[in-house]
């Protein structure tokens, strides 16, 4: 669990570093997620207060964007392109095979908490699909085997 005092000190540091920006909320949320892997609940009222926003407004922004998590993902995140160009290159089958390989019936995190499998709508690798992103590693013409290797 996050220590409340640590969170508070670091959070104020992050907010302070971005206050000079126009419209700083998204850059701050990205920085918070980079720090803790998700947007911790206690951060919401602090952000609201610092930016003179309502808590509901901050919550609304966090919940609007697919990127922002309210709980941490597994240490390995596998993003599989679910969009048309990859569908045309066997993307649907790859998604089904990958979910099966990790013992998942749908997108989400494995019961041991180690791997999170998510859809992504386009990585811009549409001429070498199906495409995937395993943590920060891009894969073109991905197969169950190359995905397994990258997720190891």
């Amino acid at each position: 669990m996050l220590d409340a005092a640590d969170l508070s000190a670091r959070l104020h540091e992050i907010i302070g570093a971005h206050l000079g920006l126009e419209g700083p909320l998204l850059p701050i949320l990205h920085a918070i997620q980079a720090e803790w892997g998700h947007i911790p609940d206690p951060a919401i009222p602090v952000l609201a207060n610092a930016l003179n926003l309502g808590r509901a407004e901050v919550h609304g922004v966090v919940s609007f964007y697919h990127d922002f998590r309210t709980t941490p993902a597994g240490p390995t995140v596998v993003k599989l392109c679910a969009a048309e160009a990859c569908q045309a290159q066997g993307g649907r089958d790859l998604i089904a095979a990958t979910l099966r390989a990790f013992g998942l019936s749908t997108y989400g995190t494995t019961p041991d908490g180690k791997v999170t499998v998510e859809p992504v709508y386009c990585l811009g690798l549409c001429a070498c699909g199906p495409a995937a992103l395993v943590n920060d590693r891009l894969l073109g013409r991905a197969t169950p085997a190359t995905l397994r290797e990258a997720a190891r």
Binding site: G23, L26, Q87, L125, C126, C128, G129, G140
Partner: protein
């Protein structure tokens, strides 16, 4: 020995980093002096990683390379290397193109200002600086440049509106939220020649009187974010950006902002909301962003390719640009050939090539070798074209006339194994996932759309007219193109591939 290994995301996804490491390791092991340049991609994705070696007679290419190919590349007669391709400029796929916007992509070191200038960079901005404000606007208007994000709005008209607006502050916003499946031109440009985009935005700022700009890049493009951020640093340190453009003009500063995984933020008004730190919901128009944009100030919102084409127009003249093209579609368009194709990648050409020539000749048909069944043009909101419409020339009005749109010029090819009912269902599903929720036809319509397609799949014939009716409502009643254009893929699938919708019915009966 100078060696070019692309740092482009597609090249990296196909193993370019391992090839680069192998080259450096071999060089270190043998003491061979190697100058490794991480360039952009030349656009022939099926040949990536495509490595070029500079020889006395010019650059010669090799690909697709693996680390195992490296020793022979460095120490043996390269003319007989099994993966030798010759000079890139002589590869027919490349030689057939008209590369204006992408002229430097893959050719130069993307982050080297001297390399950029050696290849014609900054000459557009220098000419713009010597012009009067009216001359600058006329140049853009005369070129016939239209919005390459997909809407096709005349760039010069938009700039003219912002130029005339009176406000304490104006903005240039570059829409780099390239979310359409099948498109990657913005990504390649930002990774391979980011200084061109910066120069184009500087010319835009100079023309309309804006001193600040933002590049809003989607989070799915970490490499583009990295390259743009570095390029802004390079441009600032060389005085291209900062208190005075090249030391001669007004101030202009740029900042990269990163999206957060919302497709709808590619729509200009939701992008502006997102930049302001809000939910990326769509704003009603009017007021136009040109008059009431970012933080309520007059704002130019243009796509990456529109802005990155501006330096070429100023360097070579609006007339030279206008001479390319067809009808009201002037200049060139970077086609992105994707999906199930033999030869995929970025192909810049003048407007006017037929869809059939692109798919059968340039793309070389399907990678699987099976017949082409459908081609989706213009991303997830674009229509599916059957081969019977392959004569359609690539142009804004020409595609509109065939019930489609060119969008951001992504072309996704499907072979005959595709089930068009599933594609129609996906279009609705995608709209439901990505809807900003502001307007009812999109928010509710997309959910009902998925259910209605499922009813058709289950053999309920009464659902067919319902789907048509729902598409009418979404098209006419949605606030933006997400809900408004989702009917394009759905209705084109239904119209051109009725068997896929009927077969389901028969199976159920």
């Amino acid at each position: 020995m100078r060696i070019y290994v692309p740092r482009d995301a597609a090249a990296r996804a196909l193993g370019a980093d391992a090839v680069a490491e192998a080259i450096l390791a071999e060089a270190a092991r043998t003491g061979l002096p190697v100058d490794l340049v991480r360039n952009g991609s030349r656009g022939m994705v099926w040949l990536e990683p495509l490595v070029e070696i500079e020889t006395r007679s010019g650059r010669t290419a090799f690909g697709p390379l693996t680390p195992e190919d490296v020793p022979a590349l460095l120490f043996e007669d390269i003319t007989t290397h099994p993966k030798a391709l010759g000079p890139v400029e002589d590869i027919p796929w490349f030689a057939r193109q008209t590369r204006l916007t992408f002229a430097r992509v893959g050719l130069i070191d993307p982050l080297s200002m001297p390399d950029y200038e050696r290849h014609g960079g900054l000459s557009g901005l220098r000419r713009a600086l010597a012009m009067t404000p009216d001359e600058r606007l006329d140049e853009v208007k005369t070129s016939g440049l239209r919005g390459r994000g997909g809407a096709g709005f005349p760039t010069g008209v938009k700039w003219g509106t912002v130029a005339l607006a009176q406000a304490p502050r104006k903005y240039i916003v570059c829409n780099a939220d390239e979310g359409d499946s099948g498109t990657f031109a913005d990504r390649m440009l930002m990774e391979g020649d980011p200084l061109t985009l910066i120069e184009g935005m500087a010319i835009a700022g100079l023309t309309v009187g804006a001193t600040r700009g933002y590049v809003y890049i989607r989070s799915e493009y970490p490499d583009a974010i990295h390259q743009m951020t570095e390029a802004i640093r390079v441009a600032t340190s060389h005085g291209l950006l900062g208190p005075s453009l090249l030391g001669q003009g007004p101030a202009f500063d740029l900042e990269v902002r990163v999206g957060a995984g919302a497709y709808v933020c590619g729509e200009e008004t939701s992008l502006l909301n997102s930049l302001e730190g809000k939910r990326g919901t769509v704003r009603a128009k009017p007021p136009l962003p040109a008059l009431h944009g970012l933080f309520g100030q007059p704002t130019v919102v243009n796509n990456v390719i529109s802005l990155a084409t501006v330096p070429w127009i100023f360097a070579n003249g609006a007339g030279a640009y206008k001479d390319f093209g067809l009808g009201r579609s002037r200049g060139t368009i970077p086609l992105q050939i994707a999906g199930n194709v033999r030869h995929g990648g970025l192909f810049e050409t003048a407007f006017g090539m037929s869809l059939g020539e692109i798919v059968e000749d340039i793309a070389g048909g399907t990678a699987t070798g099976r017949p082409v069944k459908a081609v989706q043009v213009g991303g997830p909101l674009g229509a599916y074209f059957p081969p019977s419409k392959f004569a359609t020339p690539f142009g804004y009005e020409e595609f509109d006339g065939q019930g489609g749109l060119i969008g951001h010029a992504g072309i996704v090819v499907f072979d005959d194994s595709v089930d068009m009912l599933q594609q129609a269902r996906f279009a609705m599903e995608f709209c439901a996932v990505e809807s900003c929720g502001k307007c009812t036809p999109c928010r509710i319509g997309a959910v009902r759309g998925v259910e209605t397609v499922d009813r058709i799949a289950a053999g309920d014939p009464s659902a067919l007219p319902l789907l048509v009716d729902l598409c009418d409502t979404m098209r006419d009643g949605s606030l933006c193109a997400l809900g408004g254009f989702t009917p394009y893929p759905v209705m084109s699938a239904l119209t051109h591939f009725p068997d896929d919708f009927a077969r389901q019915r028969e199976a159920a009966e």
